[in-house]
Symmetry: C2
Subunit: 396 residues, 2 copies
């Protein structure tokens, strides 16, 4: 049968790239430590600076700002915390709606709820896997109205305050088109760059387009700090507030404990930042490997029937964080079988997230028609993408 052929072709293509030894599982995305990780972490322990003060946090922030070209970076405990603070600093308040793709990891929608705001789900396009800006624009024309400077949802009468653009699997969303929509409806743009470290939109690193953007350094990301994230912004004022409220809003003083607003303990510990400093020193190598791996995949999947390898949008240079193949619509029914077969052969693959509007806690949230997301949800498969798999580097 056709389906069997497609499955065996996909598995052969994967094996041809991965040179897979059946006894050794290949994870979807694992970190790689082959730089100064030991040295820096050990120095934290030796000097007793593992916690909220210490030089590595500042250094990591400076290095991250330098690498991304965003003026200010504030290191936090993880990407979810970074999104929470980004939303807060974008002025999202209880009872507001925030536009967010249905096709993304749950963190952003959760963070919206931490503020007692409401996620409002929007569709993605199949060129970027990110927000479909054109469709969003038409949708808002129908669904929303402006009163003063504020965009309101006609149905719910709630203010629509912001839109989260996710750089899905590392591929930049079409930011210019999105910024245009944001201008039209006076929405704040928040970039969810959790998956986007090392990705460029028209030669500018992602995270430079929204007022505030969020990164993640979880273990499965391009670089890791164990758990970690960052809020980045080009506004000094916003950066100052971000740093202040992620450090419990304490007014600096050698011994007095006075806090001037509701604060969070979201600061990244120094020992985690130490790991991050070492990882960031190797980012160029990591990215080179990842793009080389993507190229091999692209070649291996060229001309296969029923399936295609997802390529970066033409405006972008992507980190290819998670390599992605997409089944043609008529073959999406074989997706789960492919997942079972590959994983049982120890090749780590996974489907995308269940669309957020289908999760029980978000079922009653507003949503546009999600045709493309529905298709992508059932047709996408992520394939092994660890940093050390490309360019002939071998992890011992």
């Amino acid at each position: 049968m056709r389906e069997d052929l497609i499955i065996s072709n996909v598995i052969s293509a994967l094996k041809s790239v991965l040179k897979h030894d059946e006894n050794k599982p290949i994870a979807l995305s694992q970190p790689w430590f082959n730089g100064n990780e030991w040295k820096y972490v050990k120095s934290c322990i030796d000097e007793g600076w593992v916690s909220s003060s210490g030089e590595y946090v500042d250094r990591f922030e400076a290095n991250l700002a330098e690498f991304t070209g965003v003026k200010h970076a504030v290191a936090v405990v993880n990407g979810t915390a970074a999104l929470h603070i980004s939303l807060l600093l974008s002025g999202v308040k209880q009872g507001d709606e925030v536009l967010i793709p249905a096709l993304t990891f749950v963190a952003g929608a959760n963070a919206i709820c931490y503020l007692k705001a409401v996620p409002h789900f929007i569709d993605s396009d199949d060129k970027s896997l990110g927000v479909d800006a054109n469709k969003l624009c038409s949708y808002l024309k129908d669904t929303a109205y402006m009163k003063g400077n504020v965009c309101y949802n006609k149905k719910t009468q709630r203010p629509i305050r912001a839109v989260i653009a996710v750089h899905t699997f590392g591929h930049p969303a079409d930011l210019d088109a999105l910024l245009e929509v944001c201008r039209k409806f006076n929405l704040e743009l928040i970039e969810d760059c959790a998956q986007g470290l090392g990705s460029y939109y028209k030669n500018i690193h992602v995270g430079n387009f929204g007022k505030v953007s969020a990164f993640s350094f979880n273990g499965n990301k391009i670089i890791t700090t164990g758990g970690g994230g960052a809020v980045v912004t080009n506004s000094l004022e916003v950066a100052k507030i971000a740093k202040h409220i992620t450090k419990t809003a304490k007014i600096p003083h050698p011994w007095f404990f006075i806090h001037d607003s509701i604060g969070y303990n979201y600061r990244m510990p120094n020992i985690n930042a130490a790991l991050g400093c070492a990882q960031l020193e190797n980012i160029e190598k990591f990215l080179k490997n990842k793009r080389a791996l993507a190229k091999k995949y692209q070649e291996a999947f060229e001309n296969l029937e029923g399936v295609s390898f997802f390529k970066e949008p033409e405006y972008a240079k992507s980190n290819y964080w998670l390599n992605t193949i997409i089944l043609n619509e008529e073959y999406s029914f074989i997706r789960d079988l492919l997942l079972v077969k590959t994983n049982s052969q120890k090749i780590g693959t996974r489907p995308p997230w269940m669309l957020l509007n289908k999760l029980p806690m978000f079922r009653d949230c507003p949503s546009m028609d999600l045709k493309t997301s529905e298709y992508l949800e059932k047709s996408i498969i992520n394939i092994p993408s660890s940093t050390f798999l490309g360019e002939g580097y071998v992890k011992e």
Copy 2:
């Protein structure tokens, strides 16, 4: 003048205990790494398990449960997160009030606000430095009424749902008396054990009395994980929910991403837990040192005029997390001068927190009369207490 004499007596007493070399600053509370810290952390890096999965998190939880005698422990990113989850699992909802001492670190009051509930400030007593249970009982008799099973604030008409008992500087609050008040007014007891690891109330470790309790492993605590905390409970059901929602409420599956409620990314990373496992192996030594140091302080401050060393309540065996001296009321005006003089001589001392009801964001919250807290706020000085200062151990 009398004041000058008191100041010089205090400084002499400190120096006699600390054998202080003027060139070497003595911090208030620093961690001590002299066990398997590096070995365990190195193994995380070598094996690539630094993030949310890994054996150390489970091991740390098991060891913490064993040490405290609480059945279940869930390791989280910090004590603030632990309090947030404890409040959530105690049923605190938007618009509820939660009783909390005015004399404590800001984290608990912030966590109450994360749930859009309202802190309601209560007084402490000078025997325990924790909640004054008698005063609370009379206050609630006047201020609250029961309707059905729920305690309401007469003035605000809001439900009063829970009380946070803080074990201040490691000294257990009077838990039996508090539990009595909780029974009477159907309040949930939450123990803030951030400062209480290794402290016992009538021979039972703190954290066993509330439905849910919170620990912190920040760098200044008895043991540290860099940043870290734990939710502990004797209820299997509560523990399961705590673990689930601190791991983004994801339904376990090798590749599907389905989440069944609003969740948090609060899980402690493995590399931080590795540090914690090593620290916990030395806890008995740390506690022995800390109690030995407290004993020396007690002797040095015996019979000094105008000031006394704070001793554990008679029902308690305390960890003496932060050693504390208290100025007599008539001398509290010299407190700030003492802080300046000691710190300028590189002896780390600090005042307690500004009373929470005075902070701008909490100024309009309900509060009882806070007479004792007011006195303690201006009269307490914490003095150097690092684990390695006692018992003749010397940190190299």
